[in-house]
């Protein structure tokens, strides 16, 4: 992990400069010469690349990025696939070299469990509060209820 951090810090300045470039030369992304001849393998490569972050860019996957480093990673992914790695093996190969930071989809481990559980926890908590609120509203005395005085007057009126 600390390796990835150090690398990031080193990339910091260069990264900022690269941002402008990387962002600005869009229409880059996957080059025709990168495309694998086997469509099934290529499709897997695209899916994997979509989940890997280009580390010199700002919040772009290597599939979208035009940076040189993203291209290297795309080629690496394809190389591993051609070598016969499974999707998971390719992912862990890349993570081993570049750190967890490259995963656009955070792993379900450690503190990240809290992140993944957040939607469920929040909807559970919010749902419980809403149910309590609605039930309390439903049980509250109705605003149309008459005061004793009014009840008495109503009785008199009805008798007449």
């Amino acid at each position: 992990m600390s390796g990835a951090r150090a690398r990031l810090r080193r990339l910091g300045l260069a990264g900022l400069a690269a941002v402008a470039m990387a962002l600005a030369i869009p229409a880059g992304a996957v080059q025709p010469d990168e495309v694998l001849p086997d469509p099934a393998l290529e499709e897997r490569a695209r899916a994997i690349s979509g989940g890997l972050r280009c580390i010199v860019c700002r919040n772009e996957s290597i599939d979208e990025s035009n940076a040189e480093l993203a291209r290297d990673l795309r080629l690496l992914v394809r190389e591993r696939l051609v070598a016969g790695d499974s999707d998971a093996e390719v992912m862990s190969y890349v993570v081993d070299r570049y750190g967890e930071f490259v995963l656009l989809r955070p792993t379900l481990s450690g503190a990240n469990i809290l992140l993944w559980a957040a939607p469920l926890l929040l909807i559970g908590l919010g749902g419980a509060l809403s149910v309590v609120y609605i039930r309390r509203r439903a049980l509250a005395p109705t605003e149309a209820a008459l005061s004793p005085d009014e009840e008495a007057r109503l009785k008199v009126l009805l008798k007449e």
């Binding site: 951090r5 600005a24 880059g28 025709p32 955070p106 450690g110 749902g127």
Partner: protein, 663 residues
């Protein structure tokens, strides 16, 4: 000279803002009418001074006054006039000046059109609004002064970031800011109501138009940004879950929740303290959005302005206003007794569900956005949270919302019968299921989410139509009912149109993400090839085409139909902006009702060919079409009779009925 006057006007506006914060607040506390009434002229003065200041900065950009640091850094004499003007807010300092300009404009609007508000409430609203303005004036003057001069002016400027030189992006920030800042009105009303200790139906009726207006602006602003990303970034993506995009999505979601809960306050006097809380949070998320964009604390593609020191200042503003408002809320909210009673199955409950889903999705987006920051602070891990997480976490909420919306929207107030509503919705349900099955069968082996989403979008649109139709009542024949359709309140139309717009956007998103066709290859000039049902032929490529402030490499590509007939001649480009030293791409797009054909030019290849990408993007325009329709629905609601009457007529009545404010 004009620059100095603009700077001076800004300082004066800051003084007026401080004055307007203190005097009316004290006046309202003591019941001193004279002190309260200074708020109105002060609000007008503040706006005029800020407008003058903004005008002075615009003048400097228009005349290319390079003695100003800001103009030098963001403009150039060769730049087209439109972008000279949009360059005013295409940078940190100028965009903040636009921020306060809009803030003071809203404050002034509350002064001009708020004559039917009780004087105490109006004084307090204007004071709170002005306190926000004062904080931002201080921010501009002390950390981000746009009027800083250069000792030695250069001959020419450094040009605006070329990505921002685009009509879509020229107007994206102003709309977004109108939305962000519009929510400050809801905030000011909420805080003023907490100080007064009173929230009633009338309060709901005053707050809702402001929220609705802010939401409409946010909708248009986000739509413009997404459309810009689609055609400018070069691969036709429309949403990236970038922190800066999330920064605008969060206030939008909360504002959507708020404008629904305000209906409950207005019509049923329930959900009062929740609505107050939402109003506070909505503006809080606007400030968080400003913080995220301006501080650059979260790395993102919007790299054009960031500085951590300024971030700290915004964080202090955020802490002060959110902390203050939430403490006030904790102290006072308990006193706000709810009146409305409703059964478990009712429109009220439906709107509670709406608020639950919208609020929870806001917080999920929020947690996902700040998660990398959190893990970096509290552990040694550097993680990324990208589109795969957000898509997975948010899709269930979108689906739940879409599923519940047509039903919840038709439930009666107070006590509803589910069976009756469901029977009315049977045609919509049948249509939705049929379309979903058709999509699923027609595209076997593709995503299963897309047919579900398409089914839900049909359900939303058909449900909105059914809702509108049942509102015409049962009496009379078909002709009578159609006649009544036109006389329905604008609010009913706004509701149906807005909800249908949501359905249309959902449809566009589902179709585009599920069924787009992509082709990447080296195209040789004069050799046509097929992509989907189309034939694409690269005719020629012109190098060194001279634009006003750029040089372009422009391809000419023929797009032909299945029969070989020419549909369009497209010109995808690669541009180089020499002053900024930045290349950009301009996609060649043939837009249509059912599909966009999207071409992006890549690099020349050694063999004389060019890398060329072709996408067929089904129903792409429906995404932004739906966004516009949503905004239109908001506008229709905004022009409903009850707001026009509230704004124009009944001036004396609320005041007379209330007498002097409490306290």
């Amino acid at each position: 000279m004009i620059t100095e006057l603009g700077h001076f006007a800004l300082i004066l506006a800051f003084m007026v803002a401080i004055f307007q914060t203190i005097v009316p607040l004290v006046g309202a506390h003591r019941g001193n009418v004279g002190w309260m009434s200074v708020a109105e002229p002060a609000a007008t003065t503040q706006f005029l001074l800020t407008a003058f200041s903004f005008g002075a900065l615009t003048w400097a950009f228009v005349t290319s006054d390079f003695s100003l640091n800001l103009v030098t850094a963001n403009s150039h004499t060769d730049k087209p006039m439109l972008y000279k003007i949009s360059g005013v807010w295409g940078n940190h300092e100028g965009s903040l000046l636009l921020w306060v300009l809009i803030l003071t404009l809203f404050g002034a609007c509350a002064a001009w059109f708020g004559s039917n508000l009780p004087p105490g409430l109006r004084a307090r609203v204007l004071a709170v609004q002005s306190s926000v303005a004062a904080a931002f004036f201080a921010f501009i003057l002390f950390t981000s002064n746009p009027f800083t001069r250069l000792a030695v002016p250069p001959m020419d400027g450094q040009d605006l970031n070329p990505l921002l030189q685009d009509p879509g992006l020229a107007f994206h920030p102003p709309f977004l800011y109108l939305g962000y800042v519009g929510l400050s009105m809801a905030f000011s009303f909420a805080v003023a109501a907490l100080i007064e200790g009173r929230v009633d139906a009338a309060w709901g009726r005053w707050v809702r138009p402001w929220t609705l207006a802010a939401w409409v602006f946010l909708t248009i602003g986000i739509g413009l940004g997404s459309w810009w990303a689609y055609y400018e970034l070069g691969w036709g993506g429309f949403w990236f879950w970038d922190p800066v995009e999330n920064a605008s999505l969060m206030p939008w979601l909360i504002a959507a929740a708020l404008l629904h809960s305000a209906i409950v306050v207005e019509k049923r006097e329930a959900l009062k303290s929740w609505t107050i809380l939402l109003a506070i949070l909505a503006f809080g998320f606007s400030l968080i959005g400003t913080f995220i964009v301006r501080s650059g604390v979260l790395t993102s593609v919007h790299a054009f302005a960031n500085d951590p020191e300024r971030g700290v200042f915004i964080l202090m503003i955020l802490g002060f206003f959110m902390g203050g408002a939430l403490i006030l809320f904790a102290l006072r909210a308990g006193a706000m007794e709810a009146k409305g009673v409703f059964s478990t199955l009712s429109r009220e409950s439906g709107l509670v569900l709406n608020n639950l889903l919208l609020a929870v999705s806001t917080f999920v987006v929020f947690i996902g956005t700040i998660w990398p920051l959190v893990t970096e602070i509290f552990s040694d891990r550097t993680v990324s949270v990208g589109p795969p997480f957000f898509n997975m976490a948010i899709t269930p909420f979108v689906f739940a919302l879409a599923l519940a919306l047509p039903i919840g929207g038709m439930l009666a107030w107070k006590r509803a019968q589910l069976g009756r509503v469901l029977i009315q919705l049977v045609p919509a349900l049948v249509l939705a299921v049929a379309v979903a099955l058709l999509c699923w069968a027609a595209f076997t082996g593709k995503s299963t989410l897309s047919p579900i989403a398409i089914g839900l979008s049909v359900w939303l649109v058909a449900g909105a139509l059914v809702d509108l139709w049942t509102r015409t009542g049962r009496a009379g024949g078909l002709a009578a009912r159609i006649g009544r359709l036109g006389r329905l309140p604008r609010a009913d139309w706004g509701k149906a149109v807005g909800h249908a717009g949501f359905g249309i956007t959902l449809f566009g998103v589902a179709a585009l993400t599920g069924y787009q066709v992509e082709d990447i290859r080296v195209a040789q000039p004069g050799q046509p090839y097929r992509v989907g049902a189309y034939e694409v032929e690269l005719l020629s490529v012109d190098r060194n085409v001279q634009g006003p402030n750029y040089i372009s490499t422009m391809a000419h590509v023929a797009l032909r139909g299945p029969g070989g007939e020419q549909i369009a001649l497209l010109h995808p480009e690669k541009r180089l902006y020499p002053v900024a030293g930045m290349p950009t791409t301009e996609a060649g797009i043939d837009s249509g009702w059912t599909r966009d054909v999207y071409l992006a030019l890549g690099d020349p290849q050694p063999d004389g060919g060019w890398a060329l990408r072709t996408w067929i993007k089904p129903f792409a325009n429906w995404i932004w079409g739906g966004t516009i329709i949503m905004a239109l629905g908001g506008l229709l609601s905004l022009t409903d009779r009850r707001y026009r009457i509230a704004a124009g007529g009944a001036k004396a009545r609320p005041v007379a009925a209330r007498g002097l404010p409490a306290e």
